[in-house]
């Protein structure tokens, strides 16, 4: 490894980090504006055009505010909890590929710059690991605040995270299983870059007999794995503690849940982590089910730098479709009761995901090896 390779690694990580830091305030603004539209309000409109700078103003305000430490708080854990929230949120996005790898030549040596924090061969498992780490922030914050409501929020968060992680994982297993059938690259993969590669091209490669129709349909996992997609999105909403599964911070009953006692920049960190998680989960859904950065790049028509940037635009477009879904659901559905949440998780989503996994496995097996006993 020489200096240029090292520089490229630093560039990848910094660029991924910067992408998250740029989109998150915009996401918060977009959510407030969209919610306002759906509820017949104006929403933020003072700071900058259409109020687009509102989140930046709020961030600065929170940053300079006084931080209050409750008398009965456990000091060390109270300080540590926001860090536990932010670190997994940023790490989770590090394995999501957000653009087509760029190939260029320096001093006659061809180099590849993958637009991705890092491509792990266990990328999918890394995502699950990080999303299960995120619950510690809520639990620690709830317990260390030394107050009733945060503790209740923390206990709720633990049960909810365990219940929905299983469904989230099982829906991804079906996708991994299915992408092993995308023959040309050989075998299955747990790397997210590999899963994106296996969704390139049109559906014609899978179903050549209906070529007239299927050549216009992209080979996204969304179509064969639609059930897994629905389960994934439901579990992702629950995993990020969003409405209608936001019992962790239910304002009307728990004041603010786990972050009731937090103020100033520590609250800012929790807020940042929540919105980074929403964006990462949406980007992950786009990567696993909507073909990632795959899309037409018009190489021969457009100048090179535009067609190099187009895949990133496609991924962002797909991600924002899912982000919009998150916001739409929040504006539409009332909060669920706790027993309804548990019923949905354990009695609907997990058995549903297991059944879908068995169906996928059977179909894949029969397509590859033929019917048994024939």
């Amino acid at each position: 490894m020489d200096l240029i390779d090292f520089g490229l690694i630093v560039l990848r990580v910094v660029a991924t980090f910067a992408l998250l830091l740029v989109v998150t305030p915009l996401n918060i603004w977009a959510e407030r504006k969209l919610l306002a539209d759906m509820q017949n309000r104006v929403g933020p409109d003072r700071a900058g055009p259409w109020g687009i700078l509102q989140s930046f103003a709020d961030a600065f305000k929170l940053f300079f505010k006084e931080q209050v430490m409750p008398t009965k708080a456990e000091k060390a854990a109270f300080m540590l909890a926001p860090v536990f929230a932010v670190v997994p949120a940023f790490l989770l996005f590090m394995v999501v590929p957000w653009g087509k790898p760029i190939t260029f030549t320096v001093d006659g040596v061809e180099r590849v710059l993958p637009l991705q924090g890092t491509d792990l061969n266990v990328g999918v498992l890394f995502v699950l690991a990080m999303s299960s780490m995120a619950v510690y922030a809520v639990v620690l914050a709830g317990w260390s605040s030394g107050s009733k409501y945060p503790l209740l929020g923390g206990v709720r968060a633990t049960a909810q995270a365990i219940s929905y992680e299983a469904a989230l994982g099982l829906s991804i297993v079906a996708v991994v299983l299915y992408s092993s059938t995308a023959g040309d690259s050989g075998g299955g993969t747990l790397s997210l870059a590999g899963i994106v590669e296996r969704q390139a091209g049109s559906l014609e490669t899978v179903l050549p007999q209906f070529g007239a129709i299927t050549q216009f349909i992209p080979r996204w996992n969304l179509i064969p794995q639609f059930v897994a997609f629905v389960i994934f999105v439901l579990a992702a909403i629950a995993e990020t503690n969003r409405a209608p599964f936001d019992l962790v911070e239910a304002e009307q009953e728990l004041v603010g849940g786990f972050h009731t006692e937090y103020s100033g920049s520590k609250f800012l960190l929790f807020f940042l982590a929540e919105y980074v998680n929403i964006f990462s989960m949406s980007a992950l859904a786009a990567t696993l089910f909507l073909g990632g950065w795959n899309g037409p790049t018009f190489d021969s028509i457009l100048p090179g730098f535009i067609s190099a940037a187009l895949p990133t635009m496609w991924l962002l477009l797909k991600t924002y479709v899912i982000v919009f879904l998150f916001i739409w659901v929040r504006a539409t559905l009332p909060r669920m009761r706790y027993d309804q949440l548990m019923t949905l998780g354990w009695k609907r989503l997990i058995p549903g995901a297991l059944a879908w996994l068995i169906v996928s496995a059977l179909v894949i097996g029969i397509r590859r090896f033929g019917l048994p006993f024939v």
């Binding site: 060390a76 854990a77 061969n121 266990v122 498992l125 299960s132 510690y136 639990v139 365990i162 747990l190």
Partner: protein, 175 residues
């Protein structure tokens, strides 16, 4: 060199976490210490190129099992005063004796040269296929033990539920 630095840093984190499990006054801090130890073990697996094991370690132990620990700690009440009387007599003396034996054994191994520092050396590119290799072995040579283990776990889970909910002679509970 990098490997040694990582080993010293993460190793001390693992030992520090283990010590805090034993000595922390508050069970939540003990659980956090255990989290540190489990995470450090995950880093060791990564250093030894066992990416799959590392990921599974973090998901299963640090992610699921420890979350359950914390849940139980919070359910039974964190602030309750613990009963520290020891029902087993000579427990402390026994533990100190066993610890001494372990320290002597490990010391003998280390200073007797049995435990050598072997730096990881891989010819050519670092293998990026631990998942494929483990899957290949698990689903060919070790298929039967793998399936039997899965069956055993299912039986264990079903048995736990049966023991918890079934009382002979009691009327069936309805929701």
């Amino acid at each position: 060199m990098v490997e040694l630095v990582i080993f010293v840093l993460v190793g001390s984190a693992a030992i520090g976490g283990a010590l805090s499990v034993v000595f922390a006054k508050n069970p939540v801090y003990a659980a956090m210490g255990l989290l540190g130890t489990l995470f450090s073990l995950g880093v060791f697996y990564v250093v030894n190129l066992g990416h799959l094991i590392a990921a599974v370690q973090v998901i299963v132990y640090a992610g699921a099992v420890l979350t359950l620990f914390l849940f139980v700690i919070m359910m039974i009440g964190v602030d309750r005063v613990e009963d520290t009387s020891e029902p087993l007599r000579f427990q402390r003396q026994l533990v100190i004796g066993l610890a001494a034996i372990m320290v002597v054994t490990v010391g003998a191994l280390v200073f007797g040269g049995e435990f050598a520092w072997v730096p990881l050396s891989v010819a050519g590119p670092i293998p990026n296929g631990t998942v494929e290799n483990i899957a290949g072995i698990m689903f060919t040579d070790w298929l039967l033990p793998f399936e039997v283990t899965a069956l055993l776990l299912t039986i264990g889970a079903a048995g736990a539920i049966a023991l918890a909910y079934y009382a002979p002679g009691a009327p069936e509970e309805s929701e």
